[in-house]
């Protein structure tokens, strides 16, 4: 593999930059607070990993498990529905000519540019009126909207050669059949990429649950771990970090699992 050795060296150097903060996180969960705030990037001696884990899992009668379950529910549902909805929308933009196509395409982006912090109050009022406050709907509904997904879907659909669609239409397949049977398999890589990215961003969504949820038992992990405090409300950093490691862990496992599906696209109908 000599031809790629220069690339390999560059990548290894770059990887150090990407991996160091994560490395620090991993070593920090072996420390107690005193060790955590000493100048050392080696794991803690003595090792406090198991104490930290025990304290995190036992915190407030195991509320951690509730948070974990909530996060899975919010992120799985949100990512799958959101990307599916985006795939439908992307398909429409790719396949059809219709009145207002360009306008809608541009307006979606325009509206998405209003920062969420600015519209928190009206959204809160709307959710209050619909009695969504402190229910999963307050987290799920916004997560079903994946604007980035819609736009990438358009580009993914564009990469599917026209002949694929033409071949299907000659066979007399209905549009929905084309979408499900022929379309989706052809954009599978893109679909998985988006689900993966959406999953992570919903999983790590902090602000919306903070404002919209009123009970600790409904919190997702990322919000929950910030409530791991000492009795007077100050964060206990070794526990926050340990909890956050277990917050990230599922995201890593999911990535490894999904990676298997990353292989060059084959076009049904072209080959």
């Amino acid at each position: 593999m000599r031809r790629s050795s220069s690339a390999t060296i560059a990548m290894v150097v770059a990887s150090l930059y990407f991996i160091f903060p994560f490395y620090w996180l991993v070593t920090s969960i072996t420390k107690n607070t005193s060790q955590l705030f000493q100048k050392s990037i080696a794991p803690g001696i003595p090792n406090h990993f198991f104490t930290n884990v025990r304290l995190v899992l036992g915190y407030e009668n195991g509320v951690f498990y509730h948070w974990l379950k909530n996060s899975f529910f919010y992120a799985t549902t949100g990512a799958l529905v959101g990307v599916f909805v985006a795939a439908l929308a992307g398909f429409a933009f790719r396949k059809y000519e219709f009145f207002g196509k360009k306008l809608i395409f541009v307006l979606i982006l325009g509206f998405a540019m209003v920062p969420g912090y600015a519209t928190t109050l009206p959204l809160f009022v709307i959710f209050k009126n619909f009695r969504f406050i402190d229910t999963p709907w307050a987290i799920l509904l916004p997560s079903f909207i994946n604007v980035f997904g819609v736009y990438l879907m358009v580009t993914y659909w564009n990469q599917v050669p026209q002949e694929v669609f033409d071949a299907a239409e000659i066979d007399g397949a209905s549009d929905f059949l084309v979408f499900f049977r022929i379309g989706l398999p052809n954009i599978a890589t893109g679909f998985i990429t988006l689900v993966l990215l959406a999953f992570v961003s919903i999983w790590n969504n902090f602000f919306l649950p903070l404002v919209m949820l009123n009970s600790r038992a409904k919190m997702p992990l990322v919000l929950g771990i910030t409530t791991i405090t000492d009795p007077q409300g100050f964060p206990v950093y070794n526990l926050t970090l340990t909890a956050s490691f277990f917050t990230i862990l599922p995201l890593l496992i999911i990535f490894v699992v999904f990676q298997r599906f990353f292989r060059p696209q084959l076009y049904a109908g072209l080959h």
Binding site: M1, R3, A7, S15, F18, I19, F20, P21, W24, L25, F37, V85, A89, A92, F93, Y96, E97, K101, K102, I108, G110, F111, A112, V114, P115, Y117, A118, T119, T120, L121, P122, L123, V125, F144, F148, Y151, L152, V154, T155, Y156, N158, P161, D175, T189, G190, T193, N204, V222, I225, T226, S244, I248, L251, L252, F255, Q259, P264, Q265, Y267, L270
Partner: protein, 293 residues
């Protein structure tokens, strides 16, 4: 006959669009419309009174709002192009190195994206702390003994380091996944014609995925103009003005000063500016993306 077919097709298009548009109208457009109305009000606590366009007039003379654009401008000119360029390079390297190796790199580059902002804040504030930074010995060796790592002047550079760390891998990943969709024959044909790997990459493949690159530019322009998390997390180390970025000013106005209606007005102005800046890119994008058939 043709018109009838077209309108039937249009109907189907709306059918495919309906779920997204319905959700989008309810969760995004409706709050913004309500917000537009609220932005015409003065507010103190729950008390609101109509002021017309006063909030907007105030924004245009509010120097603090306009000063806040220095950081986004810096990110727009430096971070966004740099990151997208690096991400494209990395994505091609994924293709070039052996598959197993590429999978490991992708995993490593994806790591930062998974780390929640609140945790990234703790980690980076450790890395940039004067007493414990792993870079301290390096700085000391360079004769910068006792120099504070993080004063206010260094913040833009530090932001660059953090944002590149956070999103380069993510961006490379998006580029890579669309490279995968390029039919293999194109590249094979080019290589048979004698093109090198990098020639094929930049002259054959890159143009094929320019739609994705354009999209990445647009979303990173939005990200740069609305930068919030990264400067916010650095506040454990250095005091930043409440208007360090437009998004921080909006956040502070709403949640620290309780001036929600003013925050909404600023949010709408910021969105309009973002929109105008992206418009050029967007016009090219919609021409390319919405292929006329």
């Amino acid at each position: 006959m043709i018109r009838k077919r077209r309108s039937r097709l249009a109907l189907r298009a709306y059918l495919f669009l309906a779920p997204f548009l319905a959700l989008f109208s309810f969760i995004v457009i409706y709050p913004i419309v309500l917000g537009v109305r609220l932005s015409l009000y003065g507010q103190r606590g729950a008390r609101m009174w109509y002021v017309g366009f006063l909030n907007y007039r105030n924004i245009f003379t509010d120097a603090r709002f306009w000063e806040a654009f220095k950081i986004p401008l810096f990110l727009l000119l430096v971070q966004v192009p740099l990151m997208i360029f690096l991400a494209i390079l990395i994505a091609f390297v994924y293709e070039r190195v052996p598959r197993k190796e590429a999978a490991i790199y992708r995993f490593i580059h994806y790591l930062p994206y998974t780390i929640p902002a609140i945790v990234a804040g703790i980690v980076w504030s450790y890395i940039f702390s004067d007493s414990m930074s792993p870079f301290r010995p390096l700085l000391d060796a360079l004769g910068m003994m006792g120099v504070r790592i993080l004063n206010r002047e260094h913040v833009p550079l530090v932001l660059l380091v953090i944002i590149l760390w956070e999103f380069t891998g993510y961006t490379a990943f998006v580029v890579f996944s669309s490279l995968l969709a390029i039919p293999r024959e194109y590249a094979e044909q080019a290589q048979i014609d004698g093109a090198t790997f990098w020639q094929t990459a930049f002259f054959i493949k890159l143009p094929l995925i320019r739609g994705v690159i354009v999209m990445l530019f647009i979303f990173n322009i939005i990200g740069a103009l609305q930068v919030f998390n990264e400067p916010w997390m650095l506040q454990t180390l250095v005091v930043l003005p409440p208007n360090y970025t437009p998004a921080m000013y909006i956040y502070n106005s709403a949640f620290a000063y309780g001036r929600f209606t003013y925050a909404i007005a600023m949010g709408l102005v910021l969105a309009s500016i973002t929109f105008l800046i992206s418009l050029y890119v967007l016009r090219t994008a919609s021409r390319q993306l919405l292929v006329q058939r």
